[in-house]
């Protein structure tokens, strides 16, 4: 298995790692994700869109206490892709896999 080019970008990697560490299908609010990753609105929003377009994360927009709320969660295919990418990285470090 090769590297996942979509996931490997630094902030997207952190987004995926953060969502993967939460209980299955737990949704994380955008401001909390932003604070956890110390990212800016624009930067985080752009990378979330990329991951959403790839089908790796689900973005849900609704209202809570009459305020707009955006929550993101890892999809099954996102989890599978993330675990595959991590396995690739580990294999590379262990010297068992080819670079590239």
């Amino acid at each position: 298995m090769g590297p996942d080019e979509i996931i490997h970008q630094s902030l997207r990697l952190k987004i995926m790692a953060t969502l993967n560490a939460l209980p299955r299908s737990e949704k994380l609010e955008f401001p909390k994700l932003k604070a956890l990753l110390k990212a800016t609105d624009g930067n985080l929003g752009a990378h979330i869109s990329t991951l959403e377009n790839a089908g790796y994360i689900a973005v849900e927009k609704d209202f809570a206490d009459r305020k707009p709320r955006t929550r993101v969660s890892l999809t099954a295919s996102g989890k599978h892709a993330f675990e595959g990418h991590v396995a690739y990285l580990r294999e590379l470090i262990d010297g068992g896999g080819a670079e590239g």
Partner: protein, 186 residues
């Protein structure tokens, strides 16, 4: 796409750091409502004891209500995607804290207690050290809260006179409430 071993090592480091921070946040989010609840119980019970010391059942009743409220909070935690094993783990956590309460009560059956002040202080110290221990596993904020509780209990025990219950209610109970609110912030 080419990834060198150095880049792979760095990427795994970033993954570990992000996952660790997320796990810490998740633990804090689960612990926070219980801390706030028990801070309120502590504050109310000690204030009642300070101003109406004859109410000997204040703490047993307060602790009983606290246990019931803890169960309600525990049952109200998000259940989406939670497995049976994870639910069982939640009950084990709850049972562990109850065991600590029972342990302290059992301790008082074999260790002579001469004043309510000592009872208060033992509870403050045991939970302070427990929070410190929990903090070693879940995150530094819990450890700081544990240290704060230990220090505040010792200060109260040695430096506060007749207003000890009021002090413990406001300061130690307040510390738990503020600590719980602090844990909810990222």
């Amino acid at each position: 796409m080419t990834i060198t071993r150095e880049e792979a090592t760095q990427a795994l480091g970033e993954i570990d750091a992000a996952a660790g921070r997320a796990a810490e946040f998740k633990n804090y989010a689960h612990i926070a409502p219980f801390l706030i609840l028990w801070g309120v119980v502590w504050m109310v019970c000690d204030l009642l004891i300070q101003f109406e010391p004859r109410w000997g059942l204040t703490w047993p009743i307060g602790a009983g209500l606290g246990v019931l409220a803890s169960i309600v909070i525990g049952c109200g935690l998000p259940r989406d995607g939670v497995t049976a094993a994870e639910r069982a783990m939640g009950w084990r956590h709850m049972a562990s804290w109850m065991l600590v309460l029972v342990f302290i009560v059992a301790l008082f059956q074999v260790i002579p207690i001469t004043s309510p002040r000592e009872v208060h202080s033992v509870f403050g110290l045991v939970f302070g050290f427990l929070y410190l221990g929990v903090g070693l596993w879940t995150g530094w904020r819990m450890a700081i809260l544990g240290v704060a509780l230990i220090v505040l209990t010792f200060v109260g025990f040695y430096a506060v006179g007749a207003w000890y219950a009021l002090y413990m209610g406001l300061v130690s109970g307040g510390a738990l409430i503020l600590g719980g609110l602090w844990l909810r912030k990222i």
